[in-house]
């Protein structure tokens, strides 16, 4: 049976770390997309260089959670709180990697100009940043309505991504020389769409935390 005071303090620490990871992911995605819009390689490089912080925070969460399981033998919702912290931190770590991949696209552009000003990618990215914020907030407040909203927003992102692929495909048909950049932009869309999927996973974890049942918000 957990020693409540120490246990609650450690749970508070897990919440703080997950919040910090969420903030980091949002900032990384925002900077990565901005770096692409403005072809700012210094900004992109900073995103790539800072990714290690997410890994550190994930490891810390694994350490605290493992220690709690070993020493306090939590049950029921207390146990789910830790299982969910592991799962969410792993999703956030992957989201950080994907934001880093977007920044790497900027680095791969190697000074070439954009074939057109970016419209869909920043719009998708805005929605995905909000989804990430909502997913973390739904975890902090144990709010399943907000968790479901994240799942619904994911459908919108998937829809935008499909539209973007069609448009890029069309562009490539008409401008074969832009092929390499079209491919990079396509990948960028894919990375952002994958971040949205992980935010949706976080929503699912929140529903599991609150209800003990695993929903599928990702279809």
């Amino acid at each position: 049976m957990p020693n409540r005071k120490g246990f609650d303090e450690s749970l508070g620490e897990l919440r703080q770390l997950l919040t910090a990871m969420g903030d980091h992911v949002i900032e990384a995605l925002e900077d990565a997309v901005k770096s692409l819009q403005t072809l700012d390689t210094a900004k992109a490089k900073a995103v790539v260089d800072n990714d290690y912080r997410l890994n550190e925070m994930e490891e810390k969460i694994m350490d605290i959670g493992s220690r709690l399981i070993v020493t306090q033998q939590p049950v029921a919702k207390d146990l789910r709180r830790i299982i969910v912290a592991f799962k969410i931190s792993s999703d956030l770590e992957r989201m950080g990697d994907l934001a880093r991949d977007v920044a790497k696209v900027t680095l791969r552009m190697q000074g070439s100009n954009l074939i057109k000003p970016l419209v869909d990618i920043p719009r998708m990215s805005d929605i995905v940043m909000q989804m990430t914020r909502d997913s973390i907030q739904s975890y902090l407040d144990e709010n399943t309505d907000l968790a479901h909203k994240v799942g619904n927003d994911d459908d919108q992102v998937d829809h935008m991504y499909s539209g973007m692929i069609r448009e890029l495909h069309q562009h490539m048909m008409e401008n074969a020389a832009d092929g390499p950049q079209v491919m990079l932009l396509n990948l960028t869309g894919r990375y952002i769409e994958r971040i949205a999927d992980h935010a949706t996973n976080i929503g699912e974890s929140v529903v599991y935390l609150v209800t003990g049942r695993r929903p599928d918000l990702n279809n």
């Binding site: 049976m1 957990p2 409540r4 246990f7 033998q73 049950v75 029921a76 207390d78 003990g212």
Partner: protein
């Protein structure tokens, strides 16, 4: 799995104290059922109603029904000795008789009228084997039971209880006075014994309930708050009082 014990609208009073309040509970045959709850919640009292141990406490009054294998154990025609043969019990402190290991186990069968030496030998060996003690004591059956370690004494008490071939084995905090290794042996033993017996245990160790029971009932202030599959109870209890108790928020 079928139910072997059916408790309906059971109320128990010690003088004016209402110790069990309107208990309704069924217990599955050949499974381990754990009763958990804070001190004074009624779990041991309910356990003792299952073999009428409370009858010995003056001022006890019982209303309602306890059926074992379809018969009301508080019915007029019930002989308490027969009931206790059918429902054996192991207590918190090992309580072997100050007799040899052999005589401790043969005691019940002798009371039941078995006198054949070979039959008694067979029962003693089978019971000691079932309680995972045979290998440790087979060469010392004439030694005093009191020379055994606490954990061995408790397994001897289990052997003594099952020598009478009960249907049900009640365990009232049967490992709380034992060291972790002895506790582990008794826990493993329950998993073997449940193939042949129905086990109902009271435990203060919630993780023990989580480890070894199939069903768990949570008691609070003389009432059953929640009774369900153990996995469900410890992963997703439906009542917030159960969650609070198993998570250490009170009790």
């Amino acid at each position: 799995m079928s139910d072997i014990i059916r408790i309906e609208e059971l109320n128990l009073y010690y003088e004016k104290h209402h110790a069990l309040k309107n208990i309704g509970l069924t217990i599955q045959e050949k499974a381990v059922t754990a009763f958990i709850g804070p001190s004074g919640c009624g779990k041991s009292t309910l356990l003792r109603t299952l073999n009428r141990m409370n009858d010995m406490i003056p001022g006890t009054r019982i209303e309602g029904k306890v059926e074992i294998a379809g018969s009301d154990i508080y019915g007029d025609e019930v002989e308490v000795e027969d009931l206790r043969q059918q429902v054996g019990m192991v207590f918190q402190q090992p309580n072997p008789f100050p007799k040899s290991i052999y005589e401790n186990v043969a005691y019940g069968p002798r009371l039941q009228g078995i006198t054949s030496k070979s039959q008694l030998n067979e029962i003693v060996e089978r019971s000691l084997r079932q309680s995972a003690l045979w290998e440790e004591v087979k060469d010392y059956l004439k030694k005093s039971a009191l020379s055994l370690s606490g954990g061995q004494q408790q397994r001897l008490c289990i052997a003594r209880a099952i020598a009478s071939q009960p249907d049900i084995l009640l365990m009232d905090e049967a490992t709380s006075a034992l060291d972790p290794i002895s506790t582990l042996k008794i826990e493993e033993l329950t998993q073997d014994l449940k193939k042949d017996y129905t086990i109902v245990m009271v435990t203060h160790n919630m993780h023990q309930a989580a480890r070894i029971s199939d069903q768990t009932a949570f008691f609070l202030n003389g009432e059953v708050v929640e009774s369900t599959d153990t996995t469900e109870m410890f992963s997703n209890p439906t009542d917030s009082r159960t969650e609070d108790y198993i998570s250490g928020r009170f009790g």
